[in-house]
Symmetry: C2
């Protein structure tokens, strides 16, 4: 198992392409699968990606792809199988509760072609948490776990998450997901965290596009993103320099600051 | 072309699976592809899905899958090609600005195997919007459009969106994307909007899981979602009934209200 992981983690994955050049990272890669009709319909705004991605980055794991999919068995099985073959780690959120629309666990069983069975350890956890009259058949369903999975503690509401091979099956409620992840971190093997610097400017991005591109060409080990926003009808631009080599990131950002200052571009300062 | 669309739109797509039962919708399906490293890293929270999905639903188009992917050419091309074969409509957001990291249009060209060329109409729009000294080479790049695409007006910042076959290529900045979509709506052919009713309760979802499932079994034409939240340590549950047949939705929600009232479950009311 660890040999399998080691092989996967050493794989070189493309991080980003600019103008045909491909820069590579040896960091492990991650994919999130956010499961729930309520996310797709726009009823619920996902908050798990923006929380988990920085957590993974601190461990040196790079988020590469996110799927948002409905509570549909065929879609869940196909998406999990595609993602676990392609990325080092897969994190699913949602669909592991007690109600009829919680179908993630049965789908994980199908995806791995293993049975989903009552797990004695998970059942004991639920029996310790719920009073006798509260632990009905629906809640006991949360102790049904794919055979071969490793349980992950849920410090918020007891019913455990689990890991099966490189797939981590987590809750959708953010506070519960976060509690579970704290108990899953030690199972992850990362690389080098990506660090970033940003510069906010009172200017339209198009005006300085050529200068930013020139800096990107000089520093191919970093990734420069340019993000436009508007405030009170005035164009603003944020330049973000990212990379795993902090020195390169700082030097590339210095180059951006130098050309901005030489052009007299006003920086946005936050008091 | 319209024959092609008519064929696609009549396709029957699975909407949701519960316990092995598949309900079908004849509504056209949609996929969103949210392009940008800043979304994957967690730096920027996407706001386009939660805006576009209800807009499409009003037209009777069902959001079925969302991808969030990096500014990586290979990933963009592969994701666009997979999505346009699988769903009736595809909407991309992001990566059509003037800077070096805006690579969506060149990727769309590659995906469709067509050239990306300076579009005279798009160039005229940019020349009418920008003063001579502002219209540099970087901004003119926004007039490079895949051959065969239909331009879509951008009422906010001029540089047009476009549609090529069933793929709509939109901006990432929400206000710009929304303005573009207003000018793209007439190009879409929809079905029946999904309507929904919801009921918020002071109870843990597991306590009433069996009763909700019984209602789901009685009303197979609706989709019942159950969403738990916590407030000040107290468990709350929202039951959401959705479907294209409003009468069925209302009747199924009545059945939920009846069992909740009979069990004396306190409703959450919003003053």
């Amino acid at each position: 198992m660890w040999f399998f992981f080691a092989l996967r983690i050493c794989r070189v994955a493309p991080l980003a392409t600019h103008q045909g050049k491909i820069r590579m990272t040896t960091n492990p890669t991650a994919c999130m699968i956010l499961i729930g009709n309520e996310l797709l319909s726009g009823r619920t705004q996902d908050k798990n990606l923006s929380w988990l991605s920085p957590q993974l980055n601190e461990l040196g794991i790079t988020m590469q792809h996110v799927h948002i999919i409905p509570d549909d068995a065929e879609t869940i099985v196909a998406t999990v199988n595609e993602a676990r073959a392609r990325y080092d780690y897969v994190f699913t959120t949602g669909g592991i509760g007690p109600t009829h629309d919680d179908i993630t666990t049965e789908c994980i069983g199908k995806a791995f072609n293993v049975a989903v069975e009552r797990n004695a350890e998970a059942e004991a956890i639920l029996r310790g948490y719920y009073s006798f009259d509260m632990l009905n058949a629906a809640r006991l369903k949360m102790a049904d776990i794919p055979v071969g999975a490793t349980l992950i503690e849920n410090p918020v509401s007891a019913a455990p998450a689990y890991k099966i091979e490189n797939v981590f099956v987590l809750a959708g409620v953010p506070s519960i997901m976060q509690g579970m992840f704290a108990h899953a971190k030690h199972l992850l093997k990362g690389g080098k965290p990506t660090v970033s610097r940003q510069l906010e400017l009172w200017i339209g991005e198009g005006t300085i596009a050529a200068q930013i591109e020139a800096v990107q060409h000089r520093f191919s080990a970093v990734e420069i993103g340019v993000y436009p926003t508007m405030k009170e009808g005035k164009a603003r631009t944020t330049i973000v320099v990212r990379g795993t080599d902090e020195k390169q990131v700082v030097t590339a950002m210095d180059a951006c600051e130098t050309f901005c200052d030489s052009l007299g571009i006003q920086r946005i300062t936050h008091a």
